[in-house]
């Protein structure tokens, strides 16, 4: 149906094409919002549906998304924090302005790069896995089989992934910041022989409580995006197994775009 409307736009004028594309994007957006509402609606049905049997899936998801990603997140965090600290201090130390490291660290790493880089890692590892797994389940008709047994796929398949990925992403963002602070200090020590007390003082002077709340909020929202968008794309796969990699690619692109968009919106709302 969507394909027919896209090919039909060839015969429309420019404003007509813009209008048609806008209508299409709005429909896609409403589909995703409806899906997100349906999944979050499971929360309100939990007293009746129960959670006992989904614990195993939630724990598996936390292990895969969170625990197994720790080394790579630590590596990205250490590398990015060390690079930023070395670049900033090598310039700032020439004019005796080392104190700027606190501002750069808090505004660039803790507020922005920490949640975004963590989200990129989680999208690459877990977002792709969720889209591919659910897409394959759909092609193998396992999702339809669940429905024939009276099992709600949103409750049995999507909800545990939503909880698992959200919790894991939030924890990874906190872990990213902790590793960044540690390796930032090591880099500062190597670059300008800064002491731990001075380094922490510079950061504490710039950091406010709201920074940690905002970082946590971003972690939560990014986790929800990374669980819901790939699940949506996996579940709308129909027909051939060749649709699974296409769904995975679409899920990754949409997740990345949404993560940057949401990050920008939150930063504007809280800091400007």
């Amino acid at each position: 149906m969507a394909q027919a409307s896209i090919s039909g736009t060839r015969f429309l004028s420019f404003p007509g094409r813009v209008g048609e594309q806008t209508r299409l994007y709005l429909r896609r957006l409403s589909d995703r919002i409806r899906f997100a509402l349906q999944v979050t609606g499971v929360l309100f049905r939990l007293p009746a549906l129960g959670i006992g049997y989904t614990w195993r899936v939630i724990l598996n998801q936390v292990r895969f998304t969170g625990v197994q990603a720790l080394p790579f997140v630590a590596f990205v965090s250490a590398a990015s924090s060390a690079l930023i600290v070395i670049q900033v201090l090598s310039q700032a130390s020439r004019v005796g302005f080392e104190g700027i490291i606190g501002m750069v660290f808090v505004s660039a790493l803790i507020r922005e790069l920490g949640p975004i880089l963590t989200a990129v890692v989680v999208i690459g590892r877990s977002g792709t896995a969720i889209a591919a797994e659910l897409g394959t389940n759909q092609v193998m008709e396992e999702i339809t089989a669940l429905e024939t047994m009276g099992i709600d796929p949103l409750h049995y398949v999507v909800f545990p992934r939503l909880v698992g990925v959200t919790v894991a992403t939030l924890c990874l963002v906190i872990f990213f910041d902790a590793v960044a602070i540690l390796f930032g200090f090591l880099a500062a020590q190597l670059t300008v022989s800064m002491t731990l007390g001075t380094y922490l003082q510079y950061i504490a002077d710039q950091a406010a409580l709201i920074d940690f709340w905002v970082t946590g909020l971003k972690g939560l929202l990014f986790g929800m995006i990374i669980a819901l968008i790939p699940s949506y794309h996996g579940l709308i796969v129909t027909g051939a197994p060749t649709d699974v990699p296409k769904a995975t690619t679409r899920a990754v692109v949409e997740c990345l775009a949404l993560v940057f968009l949401v990050s920008a919106i939150i930063s504007v709302l809280f800091y400007y």
């Binding site: 009746a48 549906l49 008709e141 396992e142 339809t144 089989a145 024939t148 047994m149 009276g150």
Partner: protein, 278 residues
């Protein structure tokens, strides 16, 4: 909204089903696939204790009809009543809530590939009982696994099994909630004639021990199955045979009254060739 189900009630109700109760009823059912009619103005009443087979040439028809009866697909016209409730007008959540009373066997088994055979069989019972009676479910699943001869593969995943064994797992899963209605979606698809016969004997034949008290199969359920061909096993076990040709019913009666001469389904040709090669 589906509520937690007491599994002991499920087992005892399944063992004491009363034959003759209306389980499934449809009126004026009309369905198309890609513009091709599959069924036209189709009526059916299915009661507990009755086994009805719909034989239809179309592969898609053999899948689509049972899915309509279970509310997975929606017909173009007509009504379907499951246990007296019209499911064509219900939303998805309410249809889901009705389905624990229906045991469903998929044409491709429909097993969950990351679960072992045991968990595949147990899944509906674990889900609907909210893990509240693990011991009861576990003992019941063990009995079903033994009844279907699956003891040796209970800890294997479906990918390691042949299609005939997967069908037996799917059959055990369809029985696990001791449902009053069983729907088998083209169960003879993708398995050879011998395995098909064994599957039908397992599903509808006399109990293995000769003692019905020991048999974990639901007592007198209503059974609807579809097939693309006239398997010998259907003539042995089915109470009513419905043959659909070009979307119209051309025969609906006791299978023993059906004259097979001159009526060959594409699936029968494949099977007879398979027998010659075998």
């Amino acid at each position: 909204m589906s509520a937690r189900i007491n599994f002991q009630d499920v087992i005892s109700n399944g063992g004491s089903l009363i034959a003759g109760k209306l389980a499934l009823s449809c009126r004026g059912l009309t369905a198309f696939h890609d513009g091709v009619p599959l069924l036209r103005d189709f009526d059916l009443d299915l009661r507990t204790g009755e086994i009805v087979a719909i034989v239809i040439e179309s592969e898609w028809g053999a899948r689509y009809i049972p899915r309509m009866m279970n509310g997975i697909e929606v017909p173009e016209a007509g009504t379907i009543e499951l246990f007296g409730t019209d499911i064509t007008g219900l939303n998805e959540r309410l249809r889901l809530a009705l389905r624990h009373q229906v045991g469903y066997l998929f044409h491709n088994s429909g097993l969950i590939h990351n679960l072992t055979v045991w968990y595949n069989v147990a899944l509906p019972a674990l889900y609907h009982s909210r893990f509240s009676d693990l011991q009861g479910v576990s003992a019941w699943v063990d009995r079903l696994i033994a009844r279907c001869g699956l003891e040796r593969c209970r800890d294997l995943r479906p990918a390691l099994l042949d299609e005939a064994t997967r069908k037996r797992v799917a059959l055990a899963r369809a029985w696990v909630m001791a449902p009053p209605l069983l729907i088998f979606e083209d169960p003879l698809m993708d398995i050879d004639v011998g395995s098909g016969g064994e599957l039908l004997d397992l599903a509808f034949g006399p109990s293995a021990s000769g003692d019905d008290q020991d048999d974990p199969r639901p007592n007198s359920p209503a059974v609807l199955l579809t097939s693309q061909g006239l398997h010998e096993g259907l003539f042995r076990h089915v109470d009513r045979l419905i043959i659909v040709e070009n979307a119209d019913v051309i025969f609906a009666d006791d299978p023993r009254k059906f004259d097979r001469r001159g009526k060959v389904f594409p699936r029968d040709v494949i099977e007879s060739r398979g027998n010659e090669l075998g």
